[in-house]
Amino acid sequence: MSDPAAAIAGVFAELTQAMSRGDVDAYLKLCARDAAPQVALFEKNARRAQEDGLHFVLREIRTIGDVAETHFDVVDGNRVLERAHLSLTVEPDGWKVRAL
């Protein structure tokens, strides 16, 4: 049985990189197929990340069965503005983003 932590952390890293670039195509590849892509929300957060110079630091992964939450700090320079999280689920092709 594969351990989920690294896979989830990998998806998180790819997602935050896509967000920093505003790369919608990269984001869509990370989404669960049966979940409606949240393109508008992704673009909203990507825009704020780029305009305000925000970056995201993974702090914790919590899994309950096939659902995971990644908890991360929203950081402006060296200042932690807030903590946020996003949800992932196990899909046939691995851990995927279900909700930003």
Partner: protein
């Protein structure tokens, strides 16, 4: 969760290459060498690896045998990599998944390393799976008297492990090493379990609260020597105790006990209680002072201890080993019936196991386990208002029962002997026996395993159990008597298990149970009646993927039993699923079986690809048997191999139709939402308030959203479920509706004024906006419009 990958417990272990000892025997490893070098065709090397390999291989070949309660703590440490794995197969000591696993550490380190390279920062995060928080600390290394000394410390949320490896060289080319690991476990906590639903009016309306406390320890001593080939031995003693207390409180008292307004404070308090730094919030009564228990309270006190000893030898490519295990447990279960009376069960259990193993190149292994366990449960009601009853109760706590002459765990007694002892025993005033039960279990388990090495990060290797196959044969007899009547159940079965990378664990079991009921009249005359022969086929899959249940389970059931269960139409989400097929054969059914014509049996054997001789022999035995019970025993013996197909043959030849089968299923998809809802209800008993802050509110909305996702998914899977009937589906739907109502209630902002709702909107729409926050923003906009 016990990690059984070849690199976890096999040669090399889950270690970084490069541990440096003063007398490296051969073949220095590089960062690109597979673990231990064994998989690459070179001997295991490096100082630290050697003793670790010896201890780990010893653990592998002496590992807990099939389903028996054993406790082991392992540490595998090299340069910041610590692995604490606690396991207790079948025992209540530890929960599955507890402790830091090497997989998690490896994954964490790989990710941390990647993040460091990317950000040039120093970030670290914790991983928590299924509610367990896991942490780890780093070990150190030094020299001692010309030897290498590796010191290790591991810490999980509930266990602390200290260890050391001392390695040196007695002569050129000869390395000797010793390893000592000592592990301690402390776990305690309080949980609210929901409203009392029993029929005791005194407890109606109360909330059930459970407190537990566990203390345990184990050690591993391993010694070995290596000079081309290696030999070694290990000894693993363990000891521990646990207390479980279940009481009933008024809801406000229960809420006050289990809730924390501040989640962070609550988390820290739970952790402090868990490791014993803080006194438990709920006082657990002393079982020796039953007057301190409330009516309805239950207290389970258990102590256990055991020792495992093993020897092993290994060369470049192959290792062999054998071990013996002796484990004992003594459990007391007290229930306060009223102000003066306590029901007490005393249950000693003894387990003996032998294990043998062969391991090749750290990737292929064969294991054989043989286990026998015996337990003897004796139950009494003690009237504590009488001096003799009170004294007898106190004596019973130390195992001195009111009457135990001739009845002991180690003495094999016939059913009639047990009945006679119970009928003739002279109990003190104030003591009344409720029952005596003896249980004997034996199992044989043989398995093979093939592993896959995966490189993970710069220096970290991850051993995966790629494919494992095992078969267990179980023989279980339970006999319970109160002197006036006796119930006896004989069960035999065979269970096949497959573990496949990414597909989880799948089992197929076929079991048959003979039930007998004996009534003893006042003159001691016994009248035994046949209760039935229960046939059970059980399919379990802990990770259902897509539509795999259709061909792996439903097609098998339809083919074997002649049912016409429709396939699943929609690919299910990952879940654990159990499907059971049950039938009970009566005496008339067995009579039908005894009259089956040989040609019919041959035709069936041919059609179902069964061994004709075995089937004919079973039918001959059934015909020769004089009673339904003996006929049933002939069937029990027949199920020892190819269980499912043979079960179907017996069912068909007994003249039973597919419509008489009971087919049932259980899925985590259906049950988890309500469990999650109860937890959510306890976590958020009050309506939301703005002063909680954005993070807290987003988490609250998110928890409700997650619950709704699981409810919706379960409802969709339920609609597609071809096994559950309408009534069962209605029951599950009712539970899902309850869960959905909780989610709605937790996420509701209807009680806020328009100004407060606007303030909530503003708070949510800054910084990073989560999906759930956006949904709440949209809902707030709709409400404002």
């Amino acid at each position: 969760m016990a990690i059984r990958g070849p690199f976890k417990n096999g040669f090399g272990g889950l270690r970084r290459p490069g541990g440096v000892g003063p007398t490296k025997p051969t073949a220095p490893t590089s960062t690109s060498t597979p673990p231990g070098g064994a998989a690459g065709g070179t001997p295991p090397s490096t100082g630290g690896d050697f003793a670790g390999k010896a201890a780990d291989f010893a653990k592998q070949v002496v590992g807990p045998a099939n389903g028996q309660a054993l406790f082991g703590v392992q540490i595998a440490a090299m340069k910041g990599e610590v692995d604490v794995t606690s396991r207790s197969d079948g025992a209540p000591d530890l929960e599955a998944g507890q402790g830091v696993t090497a997989h998690q550490i490896a994954a964490q380190e790989a990710e941390i390393e990647k993040k460091r390279r990317a950000s040039k920062g120093s970030d670290i995060y914790f991983y928590s799976g299924d509610g367990q928080i896991k942490e780890f600390l780093s070990p150190g290394r030094t020299s001692l008297m010309g030897h290498s000394l590796f010191g290790n410390v591991g810490l999980s949320s509930k266990a602390l492990v200290l260890g050391g490896t001392l390695e040196g060289s007695a002569a050129p080319g000869l390395t000797h090493a010793g390893k000592l690991l000592v592990g301690g476990l402390h776990d305690a906590g309080v949980a609210q379990m929901g409203p009392y639903r029993g029929d005791n009016p005194a407890l109606s309306g109360k909330e059930i609260v459970v407190a537990h406390k566990k203390v345990g320890g184990s050690a591993t001593v391993a010694v070995g020597a290596w000079a081309g080939v290696g030999i070694g031995a290990s000894l693993q003693p363990s000891k521990g105790s646990s207390v479980l207390y279940r009481t009933h409180l008024d809801k406000p008292d229960a809420d006050a006990l289990t809730e924390d307004k501040n989640a962070a404070v609550g988390f820290l308090r739970e952790k402090a209680e868990s490791v014993g730094l803080k006194k438990l919030r709920l006082d657990i009564p002393d079982i020796a002072k039953p007057e301190t228990m409330r009516v309805g309270d239950e207290l389970v006190v258990a102590t256990h201890g055991g020792v495992r000893a093993g020897v092993f030898a290994f060369g470049v490519a192959v290792g062999v080993g054998a071990s013996a295990t002796l484990h004992g447990e003594f459990e007391l279960h007290a229930t306060k019936l009223d102000d003066h009376r306590v029901h007490l069960t005393v249950n000693p259990t003894r387990v003996r196991a032998m294990s043998y193993g062969v391991n090749s190149l750290g990737t292929v292994s064969l294991d054989l386990h043989r286990t026998e366990s015996k337990s003897l449960t004796q139950a009494f009601v003690f009237d504590l208002s009488t001096p003799s009853g009170k004294q007898a109760y106190l004596d019973a706590l130390s195992g001195n029962l009111p009457h135990q002459t001739g009845i002991a765990l180690d003495k094999d007694r016939s059913v009639t002997d047990l009945e006679t002892y119970v009928r003739e025993e002279q109990l003190p005033v104030g003591v009344e026996r409720t029952y005596l039960e003896r249980a004997d279990l034996s199992s044989r388990d043989i398995g093979a395993r093939v592993g896959i090495p995966i490189r993970f990060g710069k220096n970290v290797w991850w051993g995966l159990s790629g494919l494992a196959r095992s078969r267990a044969k179980v023989d279980h007899t339970r006999t319970g008597t109160d002197g006036d009547q006796t119930k006896r159940v004989e069960t035999r079965g065979v269970e096949d298990r497959w573990e496949v990378l990414l597909s989880g664990t799948e089992t197929v079991g076929a079991f048959a149970s003979l039930r007998e009921h004996t009534v003893i009249d006042e003159q001691g005359q016994r009248t035994t009646t046949f209760g039935g022969l229960d046939l059970t086929a059980r399919f379990e899959d802990d990770r259902v993927m897509g539509l795999e249940l259709n061909d792996e389970v439903l097609d098998v059931i339809n083919g074997v039993f002649g049912t016409a269960i429709a396939p699943f139409a929609e690919a299910g989400h990952r879940q654990a699923r159990t499907i059971e097929v049950k039938a009970t054969l009566s005496a008339a059914d067995l009579a039908t079986l005894s009259q089956v014509a040989g040609s019919d049996a041959t035709a069936l054997a041919t059609a179902k690809d069964l061994d004709q001789a075995d089937l004919a022999q079973m039918l001959d035995d059934v015909r020769a048997a004089q009673t339904p019970a003996d006929q049933s025993r002939a069937v029990l013996g027949y199920l020892s191999k190819n269980g499912i197909a043979r079960l179907g043959a017996v069912f068909a030849l007994a003249g039973r139709g597919a419509e008489e089968l009971t087919v049932d299923t259980w899925s985590t998809s259906y049950h988890r939402p309500l469990d999650d809802a109860r937890a959510l209800e306890q976590k958020y008993p009050e309506p939301l308030a703005l002063d909680a802050g954005k993070w807290s509110l987003v988490r609250r909305f998110g928890a409700a959203h997650t619950l709704m996702v699981s409810v919706d998914r379960a409802a969709a899977e339920l609609a597609d479920d071809p096994i559950l009937g309408d009534k069962d589906k209605a029951d599950v739907l009712a539970h899902l509706a309850q869960a959905a109502a909780v989610a709605d209630q937790v996420a509701s902002f209807d009680h806020l004024s328009p100004d407060e709702q606007q303030a909530l909107r503003t708070m949510l729409d800054v910084g990073y906006t989560t999906t759930v926050a956006q949904q709440v923003i949209d809902r707030l906009d709709e409400a404002a419009a």
